[in-house]
């Protein structure tokens, strides 16, 4: 099964329509206006974080990228916790600081280079080892690498991506809905203000339908 595509769909076209209310516009506008410069991470961490984002959530080159590192930086800077913390993990900020340092230490130990200098394949291999809990450098300081990987690193990066309108376009999500919700609830039924999925060979139809989404 080929991957579903929604050519020409842009959830932001609905911004001024009945699917968005004022609080939604404020919330999404603020997200889109996020500063692109780090407030929490230093230059070395920032470069490493950007490299990580590119591996954890690769983005296509044919559109402006979602500023994942900036979104993660904002979360960490503002200490937006999750409301729970595995006792094996330190606080949000400490976890990131220590995790990034440990990752670089692992890269140095394995390849005598910082993480950012590694090839994509080497980076992925290191990340896979981390996910599987195969890293044991003392720089982790007792923090389980696998736990940092899933509950902090991947959680924060991917969580940032899928709250961005660009990601909603990519997966054909209807986006904000209120006051106007949805009428057609059954499968294979689409409200005119939802993303139209391209049928093979009929991309133009979908593009035209998506152009009219308001």
């Amino acid at each position: 099964m080929s991957l579903p595509r929604y050519p020409g769909y842009d959830v932001l076209h609905k911004r001024n329509g009945p699917s968005w209310n004022e609080p939604t516009r404020r919330a999404v506008d603020a997200r889109l206006a996020l500063p692109r410069e780090p407030r929490f991470f230093d230059a070395r961490q920032w470069a490493l974080l950007n490299a990580l984002c590119a591996r954890i959530l690769p983005q296509p080159a044919d559109r402006p990228p979602v500023p994942l590192a900036a979104m993660v930086d904002a979360k960490v800077f503002e200490r937006q916790g999750d409301g729970y913390r595995d006792t094996r993990l330190p606080h949000l900020q400490d976890a990131w600081t220590r995790g990034l340092a440990a990752l670089d230490a692992e890269a140095e130990a394995r390849h005598q280079q910082p993480f950012v200098a590694l090839s994509a394949g080497q980076q992925d291999a290191l990340l896979t080892a981390m996910q599987q809990g195969m890293l044991h450098h003392p720089a982790w300081g007792g923090m389980p690498p696998a736990l940092f990987f899933s509950e902090r690193m991947v959680h924060d990066i991917t969580g940032a991506y899928y709250q961005h309108p660009t990601a909603w376009n990519e997966i054909g999500f209807g986006g904000p809905a209120g006051p106007r919700g949805y009428v057609r609830l059954d499968s294979d039924r689409r409200d005119p203000w939802e993303a139209a999925e391209a049928r093979p060979g009929r991309e133009d139809e979908a593009r035209e339908a998506n152009r009219r989404v308001r």
């Binding site: 690769p58 990601a167 499968s187």
Partner: protein, 546 residues
Amino acid sequence: MDALETPRGRHGRAPDVLRPGAWLPMREYPQNEPVDFVIVGTGAGGAPLACKLARAGFSVVAFDAGAWWRPLEDFASDEAHQAKLYWLDERLCDGDNPLKLGSNNSGKAVGGSTVHFSMVSLRFRPEWFKSRSLLGYGVDWPLDWREMWRYYREMEQALKISGPVTYPWGPKRPRYPYRQHEVNGAGLALARACDALGVDWSPTPLATLSAPRGDAPPCVYRGFCVSGCSTNAKQSALTTWIPWAVRAGAEIRDLAMVGRVETGGDGLASGVHYFREGRWQFQRARHVVVAGYAIETPRLLLNSASARHPDGLANRSGLLGRNLMVQTNNAVWGHLEEEVRWYKGPPSLALCEHWNYEDRGKDFFGGYCFMSQGPLPAAWVATQTGNHGLWGQALVDEMRHYNHQVGLKIVGETLPQERNRVTLADEHDQYGLPVARVTWSMGDNDRRLVAHALDFMGRGLDAIGARDIWSEAENTCHLGGTARMGFDADSSVVDADCRSWDVRNLWVCDGSVFPTVGGVNPSLTIQAIACRTADRIVALAARGDL
């Protein structure tokens, strides 16, 4: 966001959440004169109790640590923004299976977690109230199911639950006051799976309107239910019990974190210390009701220890904070050829309670129901990265199937274990209070239940032609059990009336009192117990036993 900075319930008025910009007059009570009841928490337990006690003529002040939102004006259609409804203060989680809390199951808002609950309003199976005697596991409740079913009926009427005309499981129940909702594509996939498995299915009874009710409109199926309903179709405590309580003369204090229940020389509760508007204050009370749910309730009572109650209030049995139960929340997922677009409508429009009512063919105690699903993107990616372990291009590609995805997810019973508990940690929160440490480990029976469910639901998805089916093996949801109700002071924290055995003017009214959790979402049962407690308090007062 000023609702997070400045209290709205003061100067003799309260927000009228059903009308933009409008206010309701609200009674205010002086702090230095004892009110009849202080209630800590305004969710599914505290709010109905506040309403019914105020209606009965008691003076009532209810506290909530969270903000008093106006959904029509304050709620965005945005998962991340609406995190403002969740209890995001730090909690430490350990045990073999550390819990994930936050968005999952506790709220910090007037109305508690009912502001972001999924509105699933189910009754307990009658036998569960006597699970030890009749089914051989857990402990019996000191409540009779027939009495509880009368209260369920009252709750369903009060909240205008929209449910099916006939319900396939359990004793015959009266018709729901509002009709069922239309079932979306994800729900009809569950229906097809159940048809294939040869079990019944039903549209889910939901606390969201299928027709107008006063100033509240019917549901528009926007799908952001667990991020807070911006239309007021959701019949949360915020839009029902709270305004009714205010009209009946109760005072609600928002942005008011209660840190300690004070006890006097007689060992009885004399009031509560609470932090509001930048300072600690004290409200005197003749009775204190703690309704903070299964983590905050034991946390507050443990933190209220005194010379006379060295292990915390109401903890002579040593059971306070113990027997923490969750409900397992595992799922199977897969894609269909058709465009399901599960983001439309309430997330669980269809359900199957077969394995709550069928005891044959099980290698475990307890039961589970399963429901259709509709997670929004941020929640969905958390599932894909957490349990599925995806990242990189594999994750991006899998997420692209979003509009074709279907899933069946359980609310499964776990058994009470004394080792699963809430204690106080050494860390402190922004109020200077010790944070809760939540310890939970899965038991063997819990594992067998999950395995059974995943197998059964997996066969269902397979039968409807889903592809790339995978099982979400670890996830939990609702809580219960840390201030168990029971028959005597040695084996429970409160009696059947939710009254503490040790401190007779202290009450607990929330999911903490559940001796067992059953296999259905607990909110309707919590509200039913709260209303029963209110009636019992009125009856006890009438005969001078309060």
